[in-house]
């Protein structure tokens, strides 16, 4: 057996007796070895191994790296490492105006760019004290829920693929493809949408888009039922997921779980209900809860949330009023392009907003929304007379969810790791910022 270099990039399991001496070990390896061994070794010299998983591994949902300590096939301890996709968005935000940062929010949680746009813009508008017209609020609610559906579809499909059900992944991606076509109609881009603006949205929704959304939600429940027939009574899926990665209600809270993962442990908490933003207080929907706290429970919560999202989308389409989609505040809201070209006042405002930013009052605000992963919050510190944030902190739910992995994985088999990662649904673009 070869010994481990300082980079510790190896794909073969290495016996712990072949590791370099303690002072030459990288910190992550020391952190792994110093964790409490959860189990007793049968024969430490032969079975105690260290295995590196990721950062480029298909089942880690991106660039998550896990350093795993094994006894045979049982995981004794595990240390996750993030940062392979760290782009320094918080630093970038400090050097850009509030408008410019909208495009970067697309790249945070790349499974639901529209929702990130909304989450960020709500924090900025809270700082500015800006109220957007009802039509814009309904539209934002609509796109948030569509984004949630597309994100949950990937979560479901990828989790089931991780435990061996390839068909559902293709079915989910088929549905997601339809959604992305709708995003293309609504925002003008399938993926990097950048759809929101301070005080409104980039453009109004067309009748064609509304028809497409209607067509999608009319056929989607049937497709969902098909998927359920395939999976929900599948013996292999149940055996792989039931009782795997169990976390109790108290632990889930203490470790900072939010979103579907928290509700899978039986905590009734959803920011859409508990602290309604946008028009969620006028929507009729339920918060699905499961009490088992295992991978299966988290899967069921997501499945049920898809149905609730459809309900919300339907109500949005029914109740959406006509009217403007921009707030009436020329000093904060970008004017329409045709007005910029023809009128003096608008030209001046456009110049000031683009070059110097929107100049919010000095203060600190925090606004969190219920994204498909959990609390997605933006904390903005602004200074008087500056068009860019002094500090912008992204509270990314995936980062907090990944740190629970060691607790969930300990004591399970190596093959259960992929089930557990799939069930907490991390997105590394968001965890790494």
């Amino acid at each position: 057996m070869k010994t481990v270099g300082i980079e510790a990039e190896y794909n073969q399991p290495i016996s712990t007796s072949d590791l370099p001496p303690k002072e030459k070990q990288p910190q992550i390896l020391r952190a792994l070895l110093e964790q409490d061994p959860y189990l007793k070794f049968e024969d430490p010299l032969e079975h105690d191994m260290v295995l590196n998983m990721g950062p480029s591994h298909p089942a880690t949902h991106g660039v998550l790296r896990l350093l795993v300590r094994l006894d045979g096939e049982t995981v004794i301890s595990v240390v996750p490492e993030v940062g392979y996709l760290h782009r320094g968005y918080e630093k970038i935000a400090e050097n850009e105006t509030y408008h410019e940062f909208i495009t970067h929010t697309d790249r945070l949680d790349y499974l639901q760019p529209l929702h990130n746009n909304v989450a960020y813009i709500l924090a900025v508008e809270k700082l500015l004290g800006l109220e957007v017209p009802p039509r814009a609020q309904y539209l934002r609610t609509l796109i948030s829920e569509l984004a949630r559906i597309s994100s949950h579809l990937v979560a479901m499909g990828v989790m089931t693929m991780d435990v061996g059900a390839m068909t559902l992944l293709l079915w989910c991606f088929r549905e997601r493809e339809k959604l992305y076509d709708i995003f293309d109609l609504i925002a003008g881009a399938r993926f990097t949408t950048s759809y929101t603006r301070i005080g409104g949205l980039a453009q109004d929704i067309s009748d064609e888009s509304i028809a497409a959304v209607k067509a999608f939600i009319d056929q989607f429940p049937d497709r969902l039922e098909e998927a359920e027939r395939l999976i929900n009574r599948n013996r292999i899926f149940f055996d792989r997921c039931r009782g795997v990665g169990v976390i109790s209600k108290e632990d889930a809270l203490a470790w900072g779980f939010t979103g579907p993962n928290l509700r899978g442990s039986g905590v009734d908490h959803d920011l859409r209900k508990d602290r309604p933003y946008l028009v969620y207080d006028q929507m009729d929907f339920d918060v699905p809860i499961e009490t088992e706290g295992d991978a299966l429970a988290r899967y069921y919560v997501r499945l049920a949330e898809l149905r609730e999202s459809i309900k919300i989308v339907q109500q949005c389409l029914e109740k959406m009023p006509k009217g403007p989609i921009h707030a009436d505040d020329p000093k904060k809201v970008l004017p329409r392009k045709e007005e910029v070209y023809t009128r003096m006042e608008e030209l001046i405002h456009d110049f000031m907003i683009v070059n110097f930013g929107v100049n919010p009052p000095a203060g600190e605000v925090y606004h969190a929304v219920e994204s498909s992963k959990g609390h997605l919050g933006f904390y903005i510190v602004s200074k008087e007379g500056e068009g860019h944030p002094w500090r912008l902190k992204i509270r990314s739910p995936s980062f907090c969810n990944i740190q629970v992995l060691p607790k969930l994985i300990k004591g399970h088999l190596l093959s259960d790791i992929v089930t557990i990662i799939g069930s907490i649904d991390p997105v590394l673009g968001e965890a790494d910022k």
Partner: protein
Amino acid sequence: MADTTHTMNEALSPIIDELKAKFGENIQDVSTFRDDTIVKVSREAIVEIVTYLRDNTTVPFPLCEDVFGIDTFERKNRFQVNYHFWSVEKKVRIHLKVEVDERDPHLPSIVGVFPGANWYEREAYDMIGVFFDNHPDHRRAYMPEDYEYYPLRKDFPMMGVPGSIPLPKRS
């Protein structure tokens, strides 16, 4: 919906009163912007205050949402560390703020109270360079472990420091 007023959430006032009565001097300031109430507390008492927030029965805060640092770039008390807590029962959020001076950038870790604060504190250390005493796993979160700068400090250039991350040797 949106409001430009600064009023404290009603559900918060009993716990703020209790904190003031119990910790006295250690509660330095209570301010509200929009509906976010920030309680400035002293560094020495942070662990006790956080424990009290979790265990009290008036407004219990079982969920630690985030811990992060701010570089204010002031001469005195350069760094601030913010904490968010969410009360599932009363549906309200509280923010704590601790000021840390640059010459002694240490503060006690709250991982003993909220295990979930582990990675938040690692991230704050990684980005701002404040040290959390008694942290069980005080490693960098994002940057390489031998990296010597703190990227979110205001004196760190936007484009990075050339040569600060050496490329691996050709083999």
